[in-house]
């Protein structure tokens, strides 16, 4: 089951660029939360702060408090522990090119030293079923390389890979932006089904997508979170003029 995320006074920098400024936010458990905003507004940096991927860049740093359930991820845990509890799906599908489909999905467990064959088999099957890819690949799990799948299939495999470690939170950084409309709608269906079990945070440029999959939506602009509310409210009756301008397409 998912956990809620509480963000207090989060600030982030790349070198001297202040990319996130004083973000305060509560992301409810077992719901999908969408983050929208123009390019370069800090959405991606924000999700990367939620699993401490931000700090893999040597010039990047972050301050503030991020709590997942009871755990303060910057003080109570190592980045490695946090990333095992928080799955991440990236903008472009990034399968491990030397691994089979099976090994790709099992990689989170295998690379962390898990070897029980029966449980690995079960986990791979469960994860691929959750990501609606099982029927398409079940016959060549170990024969085909993960990189030989189509773009949409690769992205669903990456979702399965993230789910295989049984995370509580799933971060998705524009997961459908590199995909065609058919694959995009499959990914959206998937998010819709998964959000009852996981806390999902999805960054998107596509406002219809945010409206379709997310209960809550946050609008980011120039490193600040302008508005956070139920998706319905954001898209029909936003409080802030800037949110209204953005969703009606007047800028950005």
């Amino acid at each position: 089951m998912g956990v809620g995320i509480l963000v207090e006074d989060l600030n982030a920098w790349y070198g001297s660029t202040h990319t996130l400024q004083d973000i305060n936010l509560h992301i409810p458990a077992n719901h999908a939360t969408a983050l929208i905003g123009p390019s370069g507004c800090g959405k991606s940096t924000f999700v990367r702060c939620l699993n401490r991927m931000h700090e893999t860049n040597p010039i990047a740093r972050a301050t503030g408090v991020v709590k997942m359930g009871e755990v303060d991820i910057y003080r109570d845990a190592s980045p490695v522990e946090i990333r095992r509890r928080v799955g991440m799906v990236f903008q472009r599908p990034n399968p491990f090119p030397t691994m089979s489909i099976y090994d790709n999905v099992a990689s989170g467990l295998k690379l962390n030293g898990f070897r029980n064959r029966r449980i690995l088999d079960e986990t791979v099957e469960r994860s691929l079923k959750q990501s609606a890819l099982w029927d398409e690949v079940k016959d060549d799990l170990k024969k085909k390389s993960g990189a030989s799948l189509s773009g949409g299939q690769q992205q669903r495999m990456c979702i399965a890979r993230a789910l295989a470690v049984d995370p509580e939170v799933l971060l998705m950084d524009e997961p459908a932006s590199a995909l065609d409309p058919v694959s995009t709608s499959k990914i959206e269906d998937l998010i819709f089904q998964l959000k009852s079990q996981y806390t999902i945070v999805i960054v998107t440029h596509n406002m219809q997508q945010a409206a379709r999959v997310a209960e809550n939506t946050g609008f980011f602009l120039n490193g600040r979170m302008v508005e956070f509310d139920s998706t319905h409210k954001i898209f029909t009756n936003p409080r802030d003029k800037r949110t209204e301008d953005y969703i009606t397409g007047r800028f950005g």
Binding site: M53, V80, R85, L111
Partner: protein, 302 residues
């Protein structure tokens, strides 16, 4: 014939004479450059093929079972072989690979994965490039004073060390370059799954780059396999069987050198045969590693 007036395309500047002239010129240029590259390939391959065939012509007739099973015969006696040299080369190269490949790969991993932009990394990179340019005879003398003088005798080990040091820069730089071609997104995928950095480097970065790294190791191996100069003052060579790492040992290039500058026709013939064997052994070992490595990569372990 036709009563209707011909419809003329509107005159367009860029499709006029100049453009048509260009198209013709481009086709000619295309054939010309294509031809040049084929010619260059032939020019590069021709000496290689010529050398191989010349070696076969000169050396194959002196090859027989004794060549692979006997030690060199004393001056004046017929027969004899280079069995001890083949074994000695194998031992020296094994020692060199055992030391050079892990150090080379480890240094390459440091440069690509941990040392980005650090002063130490720049120093290591510079040293590797300089080391790559050190003449092999200088390497031989250096190891002579650093190892042989200390031990007070020549040894297989000293030869192995000399060749290992010559292998390191090539392997380091290829490893670094091959790791740099692994997309950042693949590393992020592993880190995002909670895989520690060291494990990501071993199981994801290195594995993704492994075909290129193996090629680098093979290049380095093939390069030192035929080296004579670094072995002159280190392994020294001998005329009998020796398995001891702490004593002088024979090596094919050394034996070829000794035979080639000797005044005896029989020895000249053996030198040709030795050269042929050396080249074939290098080609076979490189090919075997390639085949084995490719299979391993495709199968994929964990």
């Amino acid at each position: 014939m036709s009563t209707q007036p011909q419809i003329q395309p509107p005159p367009m500047n860029f499709q006029s004479k100049a453009m048509r002239f260009n198209t013709g010129r481009r086709t000619v240029t295309n054939y010309f450059v294509g031809g040049l590259s084929i010619l260059a390939t032939v020019v590069v391959l021709a000496p290689l093929v010529a050398i191989l065939f010349y070696l076969i012509y000169k050396g194959a007739s002196s090859l027989n079972l004794a060549f692979f099973t006997h030690v060199p015969a004393p001056v004046g006696e017929q027969g004899g072989g280079m069995a001890n040299s083949i074994l000695g080369s194998g031992i020296i190269l094994f020692l060199a690979s055992l030391m050079g490949i892990p150090i080379g790969i480890a240094a390459g991993v440091y440069l690509a994965e941990f040392g980005r932009g650090k002063a130490l990394a720049n120093a290591v990179r510079f040293t590797a490039d300089v080391l790559n340019g050190v003449p092999s005879i200088v390497m031989g003398i250096a190891i002579y004073s650093l190892v042989v003088m200390q031990q007070k005798h020549f040894s297989a080990l000293a030869g192995g060390i000399a060749l290992a040091i010559m292998m390191v820069p090539t392997i380091t730089r290829t490893t670094e370059e091959m790791l740099a071609t692994v997309p950042h997104s693949v590393r992020e995928a592993a880190l995002g799954l909670g895989v520690p950095k060291w494990r990501t480097v071993l199981s994801v970065s290195l594995r993704t780059a492994s075909p290129g790294i193996i090629t680098g190791c093979m290049l380095a191996f093939a390069r030192v396999a035929g080296e004579t100069a670094p072995l002159l003052f280190t392994a020294f060579g001998n005329q009998f069987w020796s398995f001891k790492l702490n004593e002088p040992i024979a090596a094919l290039p050394l034996q070829i050198y000794v035979y080639a500058i000797s005044p005896y026709d029989e020895w000249h013939r053996l030198a040709w045969a030795g050269s042929l064997v050396l080249i074939v052994l290098i080609m076979v070992s490189v090919t075997l590693v390639r085949i084995y490595a490719n299979r391993g990569v495709l199968k994929g372990g964990s």
